[in-house]
């Protein structure tokens, strides 16, 4: 097959590697296969929880940098975030999901995270 478009690079393997990392995350269509419905739902829910958790963490860090958290608050936030993180690790294990799987492709907006 002869294409007019040319792809030039000195490092084809490296680019293949990076491109494969992102392609695996694209959900082309929704899988309605009954065995996978549960896992699909778990993925969706956990993805959203992960998003919230990361947002919360980032917000917390911003407030620490801005100096707007007291020592006591830092203590409390730390405890909460740690519990959240551990809970998520647990849930991921239960549903046998990797970190890379918890992402959503929003079409023109790119990936959620």
């Amino acid at each position: 097959m002869a294409l007019n478009s040319v792809v030039e690079t000195d490092f084809p393997e490296e680019f293949i590697e990076e491109m494969e990392k992102t392609d695996g995350v694209l959900p082309k269509k929704i899988d309605a296969n009954p065995e996978n419905v549960e896992k699909g739902l778990a993925k969706l829910v956990l993805t959203l929880i992960e998003l919230l958790r990361k947002l919360l963490e980032k917000q917390a860090m911003r407030r620490v940098e801005a100096g707007s958290l007291s020592e006591e608050e830092i203590e409390k936030v730390g405890e909460t975030l740690m519990k959240l993180e551990n809970k998520m690790k647990e849930l991921k294990q239960i549903f046998d999901l990797e970190d890379e799987e918890l992402n959503l492709n929003l079409g023109p907006l790119g990936d959620l995270m």
Binding site: V7, P12, M19, K29, A32, P108
Partner: protein, 71 residues
């Protein structure tokens, strides 16, 4: 040598796939039926087809695609 040729061809395929699979004119509508069912799962460099359904099952299963906008 053969290895390099294969890899270059694969990179080209990846670049093509990156474009044709979900970009360009993406039309949704009842009049459009997809020949290949459900997933265009891309595993490594192989494009796999998960179960291929009959035409009857495909009719009435509208395919929606993402809208295109440059960022």
């Amino acid at each position: 040598m053969h290895d390099v040729v294969t890899k270059s061809r694969d990179v080209t395929l990846l670049e093509v796939l990156d474009r044709v699979l979900d970009k360009g004119v993406v039309i949704s509508g009842d009049a459009v039926i997809s020949v290949a069912d459900v997933d265009l799962i891309y595993l490594g460099l192989k494009v796999l087809l998960s179960s291929v359904e009959t035409m009857e099952q495909l009719r009435g299963a509208p395919i929606t695609g993402p809208m295109q906008e440059p960022t």
